[in-house]
Homo-oligomer: 401 residues x 2
DNA sequence: TCAATTATGTAAAAAAATATACATAAAAAT
DNA sequence: ATTTTTATGTATATTTTTTTACATAATTGA
């Protein structure tokens, strides 16, 4: 008898998946909108939605929308229906967290990390910490694990690729390793792409074509093309830090080439130039500290860095014609000192057609944007039309009943 | 009685639209594949497919695929089910054609054109010529009209945008004007994007991320990102001709800026430099003629142009990480003299991660690739899941019965 | 040649979805 | 307060789709 009921439930849930996807993506957030968006009859929508409400993956929010008549009751994913484990691996620390499906931070912690540590030891310590965080939540459904890496990542294969600052991680099969520990999808993505996803999903969900530039110790960017993150063939898209400009004084980059953007405008390059002038600076943070102390040398170099970034940004604008550029990373805390140079070069170099509607703005300083981006990445993928059915199957079989 | 039958037919056709879309996109090309791809039952697929075969929009091709058992009968759009009117507006001529849905050339003609002529007079002459071409086909179903423009185009709005070489076309509502003459969708797109679509759909349909560079009198490019043409916010994406490089000898560009790629490596720039050296050259064609005559000056300048294009191509590779770059346009007829410089700079400047799998090749010389691209654009859009239903409705109401 | 394999068609029964018609609910507009 | 408007629920008849079961078709491989 129970078996029969479960069978029934399984079948209903499979059918309900397209509705769940519409709700999760924000395409439709009410019964009326679901009717229009799904093309199904009201009876069917009602019935399937009730299944989703019944198993607790969707909820009626407290919010309503005025409609001219009876207000629309807003539907949404139930944040507490499951949790994600996310981690942002930096160059000195790893920031770990458990997040709800809202996505909201449920619990977090930070552990030390050395780029020399190697993947196995690191992942072992991470799973230990993840397990501790998860235990604090009590029972719950693990939706996915999602990692932010400070290196290029081949997203499809779930691996660090290319010469990386992380020793021993190149081509290490992170997904398989973590897959032995967690029976849930594992995502691995580059930190700049995740910060880009955060800015897009969290702040500018309606902008279809935008760029996020991270100006920190290094310089990188992420691309939203047609509303989706664009990764390129190897996941290396947006790598603007090592675009070269010729000039008589082209400085040597840490990649071994001359005149890279990063060697001119990255935090480490500015720190190098400041040190030459006798000021103590090693990191992007030090540079910003000096700028905030109004040191003229630091301000001048940050302005010049803005121009260099503007030079490469103008290439990006000519090639991609975005409608928005968001500038983040530690150097963005230098505010207009950085931004004005970027704007100057972009408006000087690009054709009016491309700059007419273009906005170039600063990101809010936010230390955990990659972490939240990692959560958004999970939600976008797990609830996508192609995968939502798998999600639901896992959800009903694993949820505490 | 006939009314009832028509009602029935209409309803069946609306349901059959998703199957038509799968066939047209190449996602499924057999009954078995349709079963798998559509998720519908065999009975339903058979029935709907029979409707499509019955009205003559789909056909069983002569081709079969070995399967290990009974061979798969391959399905496809019936080429003669309708025709498209396409035109490639160049700077001195307009190339017009009627094309089948294959897409194959059914009839074509060329008329003179002056960039000073203005849109109304031009479109009037074009419709006259289109009507003549269509009359030669006898009765038939007009699927769409599609135009290739030698200027930036805002595809969504169907208009020429930005300062253009065509006087009076800027912001002229081409779609509305032609819409009064033809009761069919009207498409207007930039020629480089259409050449890009041609290369992608015709030669490299499986490549998801590629760039087409047109090196002719001017220099432009088109971007395929995630398997689709990428246009950017204003349709200006791929505009690499006016990316600037600093150098002491930066030449003046026709856009008014100094040091643009086009002013260094465009056909007009090379002709300018050749003329300075006493050789007679005005167009990209003249330049290639001199190269084919083995004139050392011309070869040298073409090589150098290749390096300049390689410089901007390396920016594109860093930003987009494509897996293929196709180089076309008149200058591409210079073969390795152009290509080697491009390759040299890209491999020198880009990180191995981005260049490891990258292929850089020449396009086949083909004068009507924009024209065929214009046809592919129509087919991709008209049979897209979102629009295929409209297509079918128009098809049954207008087809000769 | 014959078995194995995959492709494809279809009748009949069962299941699912829709259309129709009639409800109630909760706000804004009057 | 009452009407209007939009949101939403549901029983019933009807229509559509799927499932099941049994076919035939056209190859490859033993």
């Amino acid at each position: 008898m129970t078996d029969y009921a479960t069978e029934k439930e399984r079948a209903s849930l499979a059918n309900a998946s397209d509705i769940l996807s519409l709700i999760a993506s924000g395409t439709a957030n009410s019964r009326a909108a679901l009717l229009a968006a799904s093309g199904m009859s009201r009876v069917t929508v009602t019935q399937r939605l009730n299944v989703l409400l019944g198993v607790g993956i969707v909820e009626e929010t407290l919010r309503t929308l005025p409609s001219g008549g009876r207000p629309t009751r807003v539907l949404g994913i139930r944040g507490s229906a499951g949790y994600m484990l996310v981690a942002d691996i930096g160059e000195t620390h790893i920031h770990l967290a458990a997040m709800s499906l809202a996505p909201d931070l449920l619990a977090q912690s930070t552990i030390a990390f050395s780029i020399a540590e190697g993947p196995v030891a690191t992942l072992q310590r991470m799973t230990g910490e993840f397990d501790r965080l998860a235990a604090g939540l009590g029972q719950g459904f693990l939706v996915a694990v999602s990692l932010s890496m400070p290196t290029p990542v081949d997203f499809k294969r779930g691996r660090v690729v290319g010469p990386s600052v992380l020793y021993g991680w190149d081509d290490f099969d992170i997904v398989s390793w973590l897959g032995r520990h967690y029976k849930a999808p594992i995502y691995v993505e580059n930190d700049v792409n995740l910060m880009t996803i955060y800015e897009h999903r969290h702040n500018f969900p309606l902008v279809d074509d935008m760029i996020f530039i991270k100006a920190g110790t290094g310089i990188g960017s992420g691309i939203i093309a047609g509303g989706k993150i664009f990764r390129g063939a190897q996941g290396a898209a947006g790598d603007i830090g090592h675009i070269q400009f010729n000039s008589p004084d082209a400085p040597l980059c840490r990649c071994g080439k001359l005149g890279c953007v990063e060697a001119r405008a990255g935090g480490w390059a500015i720190a190098r130039d400041l040190a030459e002038k006798g000021l103590r600076a090693e990191t992007a943070r030090d540079v910003i500290a000096l700028v905030e102390m109004q040191k003229p040398e630091a301000i001048m170099l940050l302005r010049r860095a803005g121009q260099t970034i503007g030079e490469v940004a103008s290439d990006v604008v000519s090639i991609l014609n975005p409608s928005l550029i968001v500038v983040g990373g530690m150097l963005a805390r230098g505010g207009d000192f950085l931004l004005s140079g970027i704007r100057e070069l972009v408006y000087q170099r690009c054709l009016p057609l491309a700059t007419g509607e273009l906005k170039i703005i600063l990101a809010e300083p936010k230390t955990d944007s990659a972490l939240i981006g990692a959560a958004h990445l999970v939600l976008d993928d797990v609830f996508s039309p192609a995968k939502v059915e798998d999600f639901l199957a896992r959800f009903i079989s694993k949820r505490p009943s």
